[in-house]
């Protein structure tokens, strides 16, 4: 292969990251924000969001696409937090308590989600998306009508004075930034929440280790080709459910980490955009519906959030209207996801074409990848 061709290939393979990087760098000067601010904001947001985005990895390994059902996990985490606030449990212990309470709920939610997605093979993403709407209704029902009337909630600061229902916004003062402050280092004027990063690091180690276990291998086999995996004796449905359960539980922890940094929680809306931002981040980081890695996650969080910090102000200064700045940010957000998905799908077809060439040259590895991609391409159309 000639050098020119491989350079071209590098461009195609990293097109999303490159476009994004260019866009971000170009938007920094007109935004008028200082580098000091942007970097500090990045550190904070990296700590806040990375865990949530990592939760998306396992379902991708298992070939289930982007897990929009992670919203279910986020809701479980929120229920944990509501209870921690109700009983006045503070500090890191409060967070751990919330996580512990959230775990069984998110396992159950993950199981439901996995079972539903197993019945909707080939359209997991859309189903997950709608499932989140559905469970959101259930969540509202539980939190707004059952809490205080059926489940006793005694803390007057969180229950509405009509006697039942949790207030619209909860103040998480007791647990606010307790994880971040546990081990806060100040390096060159920047505050670094070391404890949060340690936890994220641990999760990364877990993911790497998990991929090597029997279950992890099974998952990849299922992700590669369900029929082959089934034939090889891998319990396909069970493996897929486990992938979703782990993802949901991680999402619940992730949401708790996210909210402890935010310091307050929109009881009925905090989870709405969780999956959207996480999915956007991982895609921007160069992942695809079929393939994702830890670097994708970290690069994605950084790029997406720099853009989010910078574009509203940049858009405003460029167009001279605060409103346009805000719409511009959302347009870029959605547009980039669409673009990424398009580029990915297009790449998959290219891969298939290359695989056909490769077959003649006897390159079996690309061939396998190509067939897998071609299978996906067919998957949605059947």
């Amino acid at each position: 292969m000639s050098g020119k061709k491989s350079l071209g290939r590098f461009f195609t393979e990293n097109a999303v990251v490159i476009i994004f990087l260019a866009l971000t760098i170009a938007a920094i000067p007109p935004s008028g924000l200082s580098f000091q601010y942007i970097i500090q904001e990045m550190i904070t947001r990296l700590g806040r969001n990375t865990f949530l985005v990592l939760a998306l990895l396992l379902p991708i390994f298992a070939g289930m696409g982007l897990n929009f059902g992670m919203t279910l996990g986020a809701m479980s985490g929120q229920i944990g937090l509501i209870l921690a606030i109700n009983w006045n449990i503070g500090g890191v212990e409060g967070l751990l308590f919330a996580a512990l309470v959230g775990t069984p709920i998110s396992v159950l939610m993950g199981y439901i989600c996995g079972a539903v997605l197993n019945k909707a093979k080939g359209r997991e993403m859309v189903t997950g998306y709608i499932l989140a709407f559905f469970i959101n209704g259930v969540y509202q029902f539980v939190v707004l009508y059952m809490m205080g009337s059926i489940f006793p909630i005694k803390n007057p600061a969180i229950v509405l004075s009509r006697g039942y229902g949790i207030r619209n916004t909860l103040n998480l003062e007791n647990v606010r930034q307790s994880l971040d402050d546990l081990l806060m280092l100040k390096v060159g004027g920047f505050l670094i929440p070391v404890a949060t990063f340690l936890i994220i690091g641990l999760l990364c180690v877990f993911v790497v280790w998990f991929k090597k276990t029997k279950l992890g291998q099974d998952m990849r086999a299922v992700g590669h080709d369900m029929t082959v995996a089934e034939a090889a004796g891998v319990p396909v449905d069970r493996t897929r459910i486990i992938a979703i359960i782990i993802s949901t539980v991680l999402a619940s922890f992730g949401q708790i980490i996210f909210l402890q940094n935010m310091g307050n929680m929109a009881t009925y809306n905090a989870h709405d955009q969780t999956s959207f931002f996480a999915v956007a981040a991982i895609l921007v980081g160069g992942a695809s519906v079929k393939k994702a890695s830890i670097p994708n996650v970290i690069i994605g969080v950084i790029l997406l959030h720099v853009l989010y910090v910078v574009t509203p102000r940049a858009g405003q200064n460029l167009f001279g209207s605060a409103m346009i700045g805000e719409y511009f940010r959302q347009f870029i957000g959605y547009g980039v996801i669409a673009l990424t998905l398009v580029l990915y799908a297009w790449k998959a077809r290219q891969g298939a074409a290359r695989a056909r060439e490769g077959l003649r040259g006897g390159n079996s590895a690309t061939a396998a990848a190509g067939t897998a991609a071609a299978d996906t391409a067919k998957g949605g159309a059947k």
Partner: protein, 347 residues
């Protein structure tokens, strides 16, 4: 007995359950103080307003592109058409058909690009369509603010530029279809004959189209791609055609919606519309790869009936605001049911 069984399997349990639920709501309505004639009138009205969006799902489903979550693209084209029509000061039927006529070219162009895009991403249409739709809506949010519209009923009263979030079409083409041959019984029951005729006409055209050479070719591409390729049909071309038709229907649909509703709704308003249409056709018994006119009509009727009746009846009965939550659970639950259902066509 077998006939009943056959009917039940054909019609499907979920539809029967929803139908019975809806029937129950109608029966319960007078007891809790909800007027039944007005409610029925509302359901007809809503049915007419939304049926075209649901109909817009059909061509893409047939050609194997899945559900059109990017219907907002068509709606945007329709919005451009209707704002232009108001801008030019067209009134009455002229205003309505002017809006449609102005919208269609945009719809065709958008649909063509959108179709090309979807052809590049076979297998991931639904997810991508959703995000393309979102991005389009957001882009148009910027456009509505900066496009040089001048008609004073449309621009912000205060600033004199940029379009309002809602624009009244009163005096332009409000209710021109609804009032056409409308049947009034008493004070509350109005049967929007014109609009329903228009909807039925469109559905009939679609029915006819699916039986033309192009239509059957399109269905073939969706249901049996190998066979289609063997008989020399260009799959990409057929898919593009289906996307264009769907987009045009979306554009016409929003104009029909506006004339009945009385307002043009801009900015983020189109975001939620595709979901209602997707939900409706799935409730109607369509699958991701097969849809008929019956699915469209039944689905639009049941979904809109549910949407109209649940809040009012349950609210009046229970005297709490819980009905809103129930509505969210019921309608999304049904969509999930539909999505998880294994269809006869697949496997």
């Amino acid at each position: 007995m077998d006939k009943i069984k056959q009917f039940v399997t054909d019609f499907g349990w979920p539809r029967i359950i929803i139908f019975l639920f809806l029937l129950f709501l109608f029966i319960a309505a007078p007891f809790v103080g909800v007027r039944i004639d007005a409610s029925i009138s509302d359901v007809f009205n809503r049915f007419g307003q939304n049926a075209l969006f649901v109909l817009a799902m059909v061509p893409m489903i047939q050609s194997g592109c899945g559900l059109n979550f990017g219907l907002s693209i068509g709606i945007i084209a329709g919005l451009i058409g209707s704002t232009l029509s108001v801008q030019f000061g067209l009134t009455g039927l002229m205003g309505f058909f002017g809006a449609v006529a102005l919208a269609i070219p945009f719809a065709v162009i958008f649909g063509w690009f959108y179709g090309l895009l979807l052809n590049k991403v076979k297998g991931e249409e639904m997810t991508i369509a959703m995000y393309v739709g979102f991005a389009g809506v957001m882009f148009m949010c910027i456009m509505w603010l900066i496009l040089p519209y001048t008609n004073s009923t449309m621009v912000w009263g205060y600033a004199g530029k940029g379009l309002r979030t809602t624009i009244s079409v009163e005096g332009y083409y409000r209710q021109v279809l609804n009032d056409f041959w409308a049947i009034r019984i008493g004070t509350d029951f109005i049967f929007p004959t014109g609009m329903l005729l228009f909807v039925v006409f469109c559905a009939f055209l679609m029915w006819l189209f699916l039986r033309t050479k192009t239509g059957t070719a399109m269905t073939a591409v969706g249901s049996n791609p190998d066979f289609a390729r063997a008989s020399g049909i260009s799959a990409d071309r057929m898919r593009t055609v289906s996307v264009i038709i769907s987009t045009v229907l979306g554009a016409v649909g929003i104009v029909v919606f506006q004339q009945s509703y009385g307002f043009i709704q801009l900015y983020t308003a189109p975001l939620a519309m595709p979901f209602a249409a997707v939900a409706a056709i799935l409730i109607g018994g369509a699958s991701v790869n097969k849809a008929t006119m019956v699915n469209v009509l039944v689905g639009a009727f049941l979904f809109q009936g549910l949407l109209t009746m649940t809040p009012s009846v349950i609210n009046s009965a229970l005297k709490t605001d819980i009905s809103e939550v129930i509505r969210i659970i019921v309608s999304n639950g049904i969509i999930i049911y539909a999505l998880t259902r294994k269809t006869k066509v697949t496997k």
